[in-house]
């Protein structure tokens, strides 16, 4: 399958591992990602609060470039463009994904805004018609286009023994935008993906809570408290590794972990990896090809647990097991099969 690929600034620097592992995994799954030529910054989370018009134009430029580059080329017989599916643009970064999707929607709902943005784009000889791209997050493409079954079929080395806390962050699940693919309050796609790879997914109630974003630069006090909650929650559930799908989340949890430990006198030592890195490991790819080792909190000790025997989990009393004679406990509510793992 063909996709336009918008890496975003982070994937060129701090989240290089995300880019490398994405490309490696995409290759295995037969997904073709073609980078947008001459793309620019999406405006990240803060530029929209600084100058909204400029931020729309900034993101609009990327949309215009991608729409032009990936527009269906007239083939024979000519298929009317309106009938054809719009080309798809994939963003691995949650902020990029949200901004691209958000701007597309705002432009579609406000013709005046679209006209203003297009006036700005006109200076560079560009034009964007809202709706001419379908913006997707990388995780969405992996689990819904490639699919769990195809991923399962590629697993060479199941991540048995690894306890994973799946962390979504707050941007990718924001409701009401084009491309929403999971429950905004309690997403589960990454959980399922990790299970498919053979990992043990721990309950992680804060999975969709904020990591602080750029708060680390504005008010470190606020940011570190948010990070502490996440790290504590993952540690409480004995996760070996936090897995994420956003460069900002990865950076905050990884790089600022020492700062959290210093401020709160804690001793967290939780490596934070991208989901594509774990996919690559399960596919049997070499760690070097996946950017493993670039993280601040070293992941190798945790990854050494892969393949070790799993401790026997205490089964929950879901009514399947015959109750003990003197067990007075009440049954847990029945849950649909797929949630029971």
């Amino acid at each position: 399958m063909q996709y336009g690929y918008y890496p975003g600034c982070s994937l060129e620097r701090n989240a290089g591992a995300y880019h490398e592992s994405t490309m490696a995994v995409a290759g295995v799954l037969g997904l073709q990602f073609t980078e947008v030529d001459d793309w620019n910054c999406c405006g990240a989370t803060e530029f929209f609060s600084v100058n909204q018009m400029q931020a729309y134009a900034l993101t609009g430029r990327n949309l215009a470039l991608a729409a032009d580059q990936f527009a269906p080329k007239p083939a024979l017989p000519v298929i009317p463009v309106e009938v054809a599916e719009p080309p798809q643009l994939v963003a691995p970064c949650s902020a990029c994904y949200l901004n691209l999707s958000k701007v597309d929607r705002y432009l579609a709902s406000s013709p005046e805004l679209a006209a203003k943005v297009n006036t700005a784009l006109d200076a560079g000889g560009l034009h964007y018609d809202p709706g001419s791209l379908r913006v997707r997050h990388l995780l969405d493409v992996m689990v819904n286009d490639a699919g769990y079954d195809a991923i399962a079929a590629r697993v060479q080395r199941a991540l048995t023994g690894l306890r994973v806390a799946p962390y979504y962050g707050c941007l990718v699940v924001r409701p009401g935008f084009q491309g929403q693919f999971d429950d905004p309050e309690y997403p589960t796609t990454l959980d399922k993906l990790m299970r498919v790879l053979g990992a043990k997914v721990v309950d992680f109630p804060l999975k969709a809570h904020c990591c602080g974003g750029h708060m680390t630069q504005i008010s470190e006090e606020v940011a570190l408290e948010l990070l502490r909650r996440l790290l504590k929650n993952a540690a409480d559930y004995q996760a070996d590794v936090i897995v994420t799908l956003c460069p900002m989340c990865q950076l905050n949890l990884d790089v600022f972990q020492r700062a959290v430990n210093r401020r709160f006198g804690t001793n967290f030592n939780l490596p934070v990896l991208f989901f594509t890195q774990l996919m690559g490991l399960a596919f049997g790819l070499a760690p070097e090809r996946l950017g493993i080792g670039k993280e601040f909190v070293a992941s190798r000790p945790a990854l050494a647990k892969i393949g070790t025997s799993v401790e026997v989990e205490q089964e929950r009393a879901v009514g399947k097991r015959a109750k003990q004679r003197n067990d007075q406990s009440l049954p847990m509510p029945y849950m649909p099969e797929e949630e029971e793992r």
Partner: protein, 678 residues
Amino acid sequence: MSNDQIPPPHASPDEERVGVYVCHCGSNIARTIAVEDVALWSEQQEHVVVARDYKFMCSSLGQELIEQDIQAKGLSRIVVAACSPHMHERTFRGACQRAGLNPYLFEMANIRELTSWATDDREAATSKAKAQVKGAIERAVLQEPLEPLFVDINPNTLVVGGGIAGLTAALELADSGYHVYLVDRDSSIGGQMAKLDKTFPTLDCAACILTPKMVDAANHPNITLMTWSEVVAVDGFVGNFSVQVRHKPRYVIEDLCTGCGTCIEKCPSRVLDQHFEVGLGYHKAIDRNFPQAVPKYPVIDTTHCTYFQRGKCRACQVVCPTNAIDFTQKETFEQLEVGNIILATGYEQFDARRVPQYGYGRLANVFTSMEFERMVNAAGPTSGQVVLRDGVTAPQSVGIIHCVGSRDKNYNEYCSRACCMAALKFAHLVHERVPDAEVYNFYIDIRAAGKHYEEFYHRVLEEGTHFIRGRVAEVTDAARGPGEEGSLIIQAEDTLIGKQRRIPVDMVILMVGMEARHDSRNVASTFGLGCDFEGWFTERHAKLDPVVTMTEGILIAGACQGPKAIPESVAQGSAAAARVSGLIGRRTIKLEPVRASIEAAACSGCRICNNVCPYHAIVFHEEIKISEVITALCQGCGACVAACPSAAITGAHFTREQVLSQIDGLLWDMQPGVLVLA
């Protein structure tokens, strides 16, 4: 009197004298439509002798206007442009009749619901109103006088659903001396109310007030109780319904069973009861819902019965002292003839798993309101003790979350009406059973509109329950600090103090809302009534006719029409029964003479209409190869009229000429020849 006996009414449509009356409906119509203009314009149309506009045509004075004109001006057709015929067709037909004009020579143009309420564009609305009037005139001149049909009413009534609404309706009808078939798909009557412990605001025990009614129903000579049964098909029309009921096999011979319960005791298969105990308790593979179940006969749950699953066991059969167990029972079908049907099929609880941030199913000590209801019930899984999921520990703090799945655009936008009061009741019961416990109610608004409801709210306030106004963001076990460790934390914005609050509690109760039954649309189509967007049955008029549906003879009562607590359900059950007994008391019912008839000479005997008719009202005479409509069965739906390839079928009051003329009239300002009518 059948249609063909009516004398030929008129020489030619050209000679008809039409009166047109345009209603202002106060400002309802006049605000958007230039009614005077419509009246003046109408007066200039062909056939029209007089046209008037009037403030309220439905008033006595408005009606008299029509009556006087009929007599003074010799009008032979009346057109009223006003509201929906559902509102006032009957009113104006009455006026015609009083003035000596056959009521079916009247035509109504709905310029309110279809026009003035639908737009703010005065010009367009006025123009559309004129077209509607023109259509009505063109149709009216072709109308023929008709006589109503009278049919006998079968005095038997079918009540579907044995919850408190259906039970009330059945008992009232039976007490009035009419026979009732009470059908319930569950193994016992009692409905949702049978699961409850106490009822607000008086806190009397639900079983104590419900079970006497259940016993009355079982023993009443005028009630035939059919539990573990479902209605599968309904034929006929008001006064003469023919209903097919499926009796599911109980595998217990009711005539022999004494209800002693030995089989239940000896049954080795104990399974989670997802139905009556909502997953919090267990039942045996042969069991009844609760000790006071009516009827007392148990039912075998074949999916869990060892004999049905593995072919051996038969413990119940061995121990039964009266040989009442019969594993070979098959479902049976029964045909009932009834005159009216009352649907009281109730509601379902909202599935709390749909709100994952509240943790139901994931966090052990999050309960639904119905689970808690079973817990506080003395006959429930904990014998009335309030305990955590471990079955022994009493909670020291309980958080009650209102509006779970209600008043929320993500799920249901409506208010479920009964849960606020139930939440207050729960707060009281927690205080009663665990005196030291702290109780927090997280609410949006407290809806305590009902007799003695507000007083009950104050009582609960004074008992020391905490009320936090704000929607709960999440329930979590992710502790931020030592104070929260081991608790469930409820995070909510307290909108009264404008702050985020985190309240650690031991137990959370989710006040789940009410939803229409998952299969309510199927049930509606079986009985031929309408459902709204959410699946609730649609009443004829939300305010003035809440228990009658648009289908004559089909009534609704209780929570199948929308969320309701016990008092409203009882009121509707009684209301439906009163309507039915009023109808039965009349012995006959007047039906619209809108019926199809087949012109024998034109019938080719193709039999297409035989299969199209949903009422089985068309018979085929094999000897002469001609189909005939049985007028008493025909409902005037028009399906056969449209289907007949020889145009041999005519629908009275909706003849081909009448309908096509009306369309021509509606399109009077279009270019002639543009529209080709096939």
